[in-house]
Amino acid sequence: MTRTKTERRIFSLGVILAFVFGTATISNAMHIMEGYLPLNYCIIWGAVCIPFLVAGFFSIKKTLAKHRKTMLILVMAGAYAFVLSALKIPSVTGSSSHPTGTGLGAILFGPSAMAIIGIIVLLFQAILLAHGGLTTLGANTFSMAIAGPFVSYAIYKLCRSVKLPKSVGVFLAACLGDLFTYCVTAVQLAMAHPSEVGGFRASLIEFLGIFAMTQVPLALIEGLVAVVVMLGLESYAKPELTELGYMEV
């Protein structure tokens, strides 16, 4: 029995590796484009990410050491982020953008774990698909894989502490985390490209108009989809969710 279990795990790990190495996404609307951030900002954002990535690495290691069983759910959370970030959805501003898919994993595995999953997604997008970029990897990792998940996690905890139902917490966490990711992107661009007239503020309004406005309906979609997935997991993966401490609160 245990042997087949291990085999299954190795298999699912194999599947994830294959699909991480075999794919990447084309996203037109999530990242700061290669070369569009001055070098000093690239370095600063990259440095900011390092402690989170280290924490994420240890966090995943600890989770898997303590709860081997939850490996499948971790793999699924990663797959979920891949699928969601591949879907370009039309928005009310007349442009398209896509969800991030990082909120769900943040709720289950904690925010720092998502830094690792997120940077894997971003790396392959940058290398294979000319989206985002290696120079802007630090800035993009910070917005999508750190800032967004941390907000999602905080919102979820807040909702639970005021006794809101789980699904409401999941919805708000995924929705606002998604929105926040793009607000951070707008701030990063505005800092690097302050306007001649009106400086940082004028630029920020401009970029928020591009990114955040486009993102509003998508954030709602991301929230709803996260609730759907969580309802499914609650019905079928109760043992794992209990181990992760999701069921108890």
């Binding site: 794919t23 569009y36 001055p38 891949f82 699928v83 591949a86 989206h131 979609i221």
Partner: protein, 99 residues
Amino acid sequence: MTKNAKIVIVLLLLVVVIAVIPLLFIHDSEFGGADGAAEDAITAINPNYVAWAEPILEPPGGETESLLFCLQAGLGASVFGYGFGYLVARKKYKKKDEK
């Protein structure tokens, strides 16, 4: 139809509605990506800014791009579906064993 199943169907319908509304009401747009718009904005703010790095690999065109796209969504979905299938079957057979 359990209560959860009903909720799921309603939520998914809502998702479709939110995605379709812009398509119904905005006719003169191609729905290009928002980062293209950001590129234009940077050029408008700072006309002298030159992108100082180039992407390593650029898909030759829209078709190849959409291939990689489908591949990503498809593979992600199959891993996710595999996981869910496993969980659903596990629950089902556990129940049988208990009987």
